[in-house]
């Protein structure tokens, strides 16, 4: 039995994907903790950018929300949201953005708006926030989501934030500056995207997870890389940082 939880594996895998990155647009929840872990491990020069208007945050404690007062204290810059979206994001200064959603399809398109019909939704979700433009502008988009049949769907109920849309090349045709989704980190496995088709490809299984466990949680039959590997388990140091410094209350680790 592993001495770490699937969520811890997911956070660690997401943090490692940030190796060498300079600027990251941080979302709420799991991305938040993954970025804070990366800053303490593989990406010491990482500048955390929050849509609330914070650039270069050094939070002393894990922020509950993207507008937490701990993000302001000691930050390099705090600006208006007009400046954050206009100058930093649309100005092309963001290397990586973390996004998630209620639904994702094989091309990494995301739904955070509604389940069911828009006018008469079964579930009304939060909506875009900044995700729609973040998905368009960040040089790369990393997605962090728990794997489940409800979330990994053949067809989105609503397309809030564009991934590779209908396939490779469509973003370029529409003039989108960013390269779109590059990696999807889940609690069971990691996907990347085929440059030829823009489609999600399974590249690694977390220790103890079998291919059929992944297939069982997906709304389509995923493409599998011929070089499918096992994800490196969390190191003792990564687990110590997570458990003792970043999330001592275990809010995100369970």
């Amino acid at each position: 039995m592993a001495d770490y939880t699937p969520s811890e594996m997911m956070i660690v895998a997401a943090a490692r994907a940030l190796a060498g990155v300079r600027t990251v647009f941080v979302g709420v929840g799991l991305p938040n903790i993954a970025c804070n872990l990366a800053q303490r491990t593989v990406a010491p020069d990482l500048e955390l950018v929050y849509e609330s208007g914070v650039y270069g945050a050094r939070p002393a404690r894990l922020p509950l929300s993207i507008g937490d007062p701990a993000l302001i204290t000691g930050a390099l810059s705090v600006c208006s949201m007009a400046d954050l979206f206009g100058l930093y994001l649309q100005g092309g200064r963001i290397d990586v953005a973390f996004l998630g959603g209620a639904q994702i399809d094989r091309y990494g398109n995301l739904n955070t708006t509604v389940i069911g019909d828009y006018a008469h939704p079964k579930v009304r979700l939060p909506g875009s926030g900044g995700a729609c433009e973040i998905a368009i502008h960040a040089r790369q988009v990393f997605i962090i989501m728990r794997l489940s049949r409800r979330s990994f769907v053949e067809r989105l109920d609503f397309l809030t934030s564009p991934g590779h849309l209908g396939g490779s090349g469509e973003r370029e045709r529409l003039g989108m500056p960013g390269r779109g989704p590059q990696v999807v980190v889940t609690d069971k496995c990691v996907f990347r995207f085929d440059p030829g088709t823009g489609e999600m490809v399974l590249v690694s299984l977390h220790p103890g997870v079998r291919l059929e466990d992944v297939r069982a949680e997906m709304g389509w039959d995923p493409r599998v890389s011929p070089d499918l590997t096992e994800t490196e388990p969390p190191t003792p140091e990564e687990l110590r940082l997570l458990r003792e410094e970043l999330d001592p209350l275990g809010v995100y680790r369970s």
């Binding site: 709420v28 929840g29 849509e51 609330s52 208007g53 914070v54 509950l64 929300s65 993207i66 507008g67 937490d68 007062p69 302001i72 204290t73 000691g74 705090v78 600006c79 208006s80 949201m81 007009a82 979206f85 206009g86 994001l89 649309q90 398109n109 708006t113 828009y118 939704p121 579930v123 009304r124 979700l125 939060p126 909506g127 875009s128 926030g129 900044g130 995700a131 729609c132 433009e133 368009i136 502008h137 609503f158 397309l159 809030t160 934030s161 564009p162 849309l165 469509e170 973003r171 529409l174 003039g175 989108m176 500056p177």
Partner: protein
């Protein structure tokens, strides 16, 4: 001299059917104004905010609103806004119309409003379904031959309510920490109410003019309301009451519990001062922020 009470400011500048923006991104959200609007029984408001947050969840639960203009409908870091969801999904207490954008789209609407422009262009919405459900998000051809670009129309609220750290009695207002879209929405609005933690002398404002976000020129009323943004926060004055944001998730799940909360904490108190007293010393002790002073600069 524009100093007045919250009661008079709301009675004078907020009317049934008005388009109202109480902005503030996570920080400086003026719950004190929202509660006074609820107490005065305003109806059919069009409520604009990037993140409706608990403040509009409470106003919708109290039956003040007919429509929301927004970009992110959630209790940040916690979950959904249950009262708004009840209104949208089941029409309780009344149906609620939604007009939704992305954050940048909302900011762009405020900028267009503030600059008195017919629209504002932004590189967003390409490939998204949002323009299909909101016909006010449109694409125009760039007159310089760069292809199509998304545009949004101006948003000019009847009244904007801004919470900030300090102002003088004429409404010259200084704000630090998260700035949200406070400046843009204030300049876009027909009337502006400023609500502050402290009233200071004009000399204090003049000693640090770069920190003045909103000039008294565009302000109609100034209200002195300490702790007026609770349970949100004011940098340097009090922390965000995260415990309350979590507790609201429980309260707001249940319609009766939501009504009981409004009964006790909004209708049941005369004004913000009574709310602050009722919250008790322990709350304000718990939310006391750490000290982190900036170094002074030489404006000479």
């Amino acid at each position: 001299m524009k100093l007045t009470t919250m009661r008079d400011a709301i009675a004078t500048y907020v009317h049934d059917g008005d388009t109202v923006a109480i902005e503030g991104f996570t920080a400086c959200i003026c719950f004190a104004a929202a509660h006074e609007i609820i107490r005065q029984g305003r109806r059919d408001l069009v409520l604009c905010r990037m993140t409706p947050d608990l403040i509009y969840d409470q106003m919708v639960a109290a039956g003040c609103a007919r429509k929301l203009v927004f970009s992110y409908l959630g209790n940040p870091g916690v979950g959904p806004l249950h009262a708004i969801r009840r209104a949208v999904e089941k029409g309780i207490p009344a149906p609620l119309e939604l007009e939704e954008y992305s954050h940048f789209g909302m900011v762009a609407r405020y900028i267009a409003g503030a600059y008195r422009l017919p629209f504002f262009p932004l590189r967003s919405y390409v490939g998204s379904d949002l323009p299909k459900v909101n016909p006010r998000i449109r694409f125009v051809e760039s007159p310089y031959g760069d292809g199509p670009i998304a545009v949004v129309p101006p948003l000019n609220p009847d009244v904007a309510i801004i919470h900030a750290q300090r102002a003088d009695v004429n409404g010259n207002t200084q704000l630090w920490g998260l700035l949200g879209a406070q400046k843009e929405v204030a300049f876009a609005a027909r009337h502006v109410i400023v609500v502050v933690e402290e009233i200071v002398d004009e000399e204090v404002i003049r000693s640090d003019p770069n920190r003045t976000l909103i000039p008294g020129l565009i302000v109609d009323a100034v209200v002195h309301e300490p702790y007026g943004a609770h349970p949100s926060y004011v940098q340097g004055y009090y922390d965000r009451d995260n415990e309350f944001y979590l507790r609201w998730d429980e309260i707001s799940r249940d319609e009766a519990a939501t009504r009981a909360w409004l009964e006790e904490w909004v209708y049941g108190v005369r004004d913000r001062a009574e709310y602050v007293e009722k919250m008790g010393r322990e709350t304000w002790e718990r939310l006391k922020p750490t000290q982190a002073w900036s170094l002074p600069v030489n404006y000479g």
